[in-house]
Amino acid sequence: MGGRLGFIGQRLVKAVFVILGIIVLNFLLIRLAPGDPALVLAGEAGAADPKFLADLRREFGLDQPVWRQLLIYMQGILSFDLGFSYRQKQPILDLIMARLPQTVLLTGTALTFAIVVGVSLGAMAARHVGSWWDSAITTLALLVYAMPQFWLGLMLVLLFSVQLGWLPTFGMNTINSGFTGLDHALDVGRHLILPSLTLGLFFMAVYARLTRASMLEVADLDFVRTGRAKGLSEGRIQRRYILRNALLPVVTYAGLQAGYLVGGSILIETVFAWPGIGRLAFEAVLVRDYNLLLGIFIVASVLVIAFNLLTDILYTVVDPRIEMGT
């Protein structure tokens, strides 16, 4: 038990440093972009004069030297205050928390789909290696893996929404519908299908291939042969021994994908007008909403670190031969 706690503690300390680094890096990075929020607002108002720009900059705290701004920001972080958005006149944490669940819903559904379907397909391909099934699954995986996600999304919309009219084109719910309760859940569910399918298909392909390769590798190992020699059923061997061990790379890979799932959703959220934080980050860059962008980076990084920690722990559960802290 002590080993495990120490392990987690170590990782947490490391995590803090990483997040600190991310804050400083992105704080400085975004300020390298030409133009500031005051200019953006002036651009949209279609009129400006020096006083207007100066007043706005003072309001946003941009008239201070950069190191000072950084210090003020860091102080805020310590009290879990991610600052205030220039643009939307709201606390950043509120803005992020309002959109984060939508992204988690999207990526969570996609990931679940990807793992469940991907692992199943991969296992099936491995089980019937060399057969027609195997070729079909492998080819499908390769094809899906190669398609650009945004294009796949558009094509799916074209087919299922525009042509067939089965599914909605965009958004998370039907405007003006006023649905509540179960109706609302079903409405969101319908809207969720195409975006999560688009996001999930890519990873499904990856997991399918990974599972297949991994299972084939394990199938040859000694303890499996021993199992067969002992007369255990093929199904039992597959499930208990092969699959369990083959899952290790899948778990590892899932951990590595955390960052992609948070950031990669920008594309899907754009294509489907899904109100998540990926799109929020993109919009924040365009209007120089420094604090919002920084806030999203921080939240995303925290999530990635947490996810990685989780998968590491999961790893040790799946394979107790692995020691923590190595």
Binding site: A33, P34, G35, D36, P37, L39, V40, L41, A42, G43, E44, A45, G46, A47, A48, D49, P50, K51, F52, L53, D55, E59, Y86, R87, Q88, K89, Q90, L95, A98, R99, T169, F170, G171, T174, I175, N176, A273, P275, R279, V285, L286, V287, R288
Partner: protein, 529 residues
Amino acid sequence: MASRRQVLSSAAGLLAGAAIGMPRMARAQQKRGGVLTAILNPEPPLLVLGLNQQAPTQLVAGKIYQGLLRYDFDLKPLPSLAKSWTVSPDGLTYTFTLQEGVKWHDGAPFTADDVVFSCTKFLPEVHPRARASFDRCESITAPDKGTVVFKLKEVFEPFLYAFLPAGAPMMPKHIYDGTDFRANPKNATPIGTGPFKFKEWVRGSHITLVRNDEYWKPGRPFLDGVTYRVIPDAAARALAIETGQVDLAQGNDVEAFDVQRLAALPHVELHKKGYETVAPISWIEINHRTAPFSDKRFRQAMMHAIDRDFIVKNIFFGLGRPASGPINTATRFHDAKSVKRYPYDTKKAEALLNEMGLKPGAGGVRARIKMMVLPYGEVWVRQAEYVKQALRRVGIDVTLESNDAGGWVKRIGDWDYETSFDFVSQFMDPAMGVARTYISSNIRRGVPFTNTMGYVNKRVDELFEQAPKQTDPAKAQAMYSELQAILTEDVPVVWLTELEFPVLINKKFRNVNIDANGPNSEFDEAYLA
């Protein structure tokens, strides 16, 4: 148009007042009830019109706040919070008589004190355009609770055009006086005098406005409320109008090529009017500080090389008019006869370039220039691609530069560009929105929407200074006609298109788009048939 009627004499002012300021409207039975749902895109940062005049803010806040005047499609001033007005014969004193019985949404009475506060304290502090307008005033006083007197330092004939709600919204003194305007907590719940009150704002979803039962116009507004739905995706917005989920789409909500298709639907009506208060012109802004841009022949060649009809037809899908000069046809003092014409003629363009000594070199290239693309939407990217092709045909090789909004505003303000697309609003009178681009006193580094080109012409400066001081409309017109002739000869910027913004309305709503402020207007006469 040359013959802009100028309602300056007291008689005309009273007449307008007597007619209760009815803009052009359908005469039919107006029923009470119904909620109009409109599109809102992008979501505005805040709704306090005095603090923010971005397009989406104007849409929503235009129902909450009001100005002293409103304007019809011909830009004739009409009463709003001002019931009537008079102008002294010497053109220096403007006296406004306010409507009676006007209350703020929180119940406090609207009086001349609010007007004085708005025009002397609030707006000059935070509103660049209003600041410029009211700087011209020697004094702004309230002799009694229902009258406001503006005394100008010198004659400024277009002064009546400063009172659009977006230009000079009336702000409540009892809420803002003595506070930090931008940080005032009441900014979250805007208080105005308009026909609709702010009810709620669910970020990312919608803004709800409800009828102001105490609105000062008897029996108005007819609608129970107006709801603005935030829809970030273009295809989604088109679909929303198509399916009737929203009743109103305006401006850039719907992509240009989709407008005609939607307008053809049986339940949808298309208006091309409603933006006369802005009447923007899109052009190519040129930095005169380096060659070959300093030579007007190069700029004239560019004017000849671009087919403005093609742009209107294929890029704006008919939503616009080819621009011929610095003053939009919808703006006062436009004179079609005085502008120098530049028909699409690649031969003329090449002749001018030859004259300059820019002969075709390798690959037929005579000159290499850079051009910044406007970051405000797909249509500008298409326009940039077309212009690049058009100029290539006469031997000018264009490298497009892509910036986002922050970068673009910075570069153009800092003069860090060779050429750039831009579009600028005119605000009804050349003195309000046109002069700022061409006068040498407005060459200010770091500030956008100024004379970033570095164009200097003494006669132009003189004319822009003198014209607003003329009380005789004929004299003013003569000056503006001369200006248009000079500017179209000098071509400080390459004018492209007079932009028209569509307003798509569900036919079941009437009297929605009734004045020059179009969808930004109060909607106090709108009703559900």
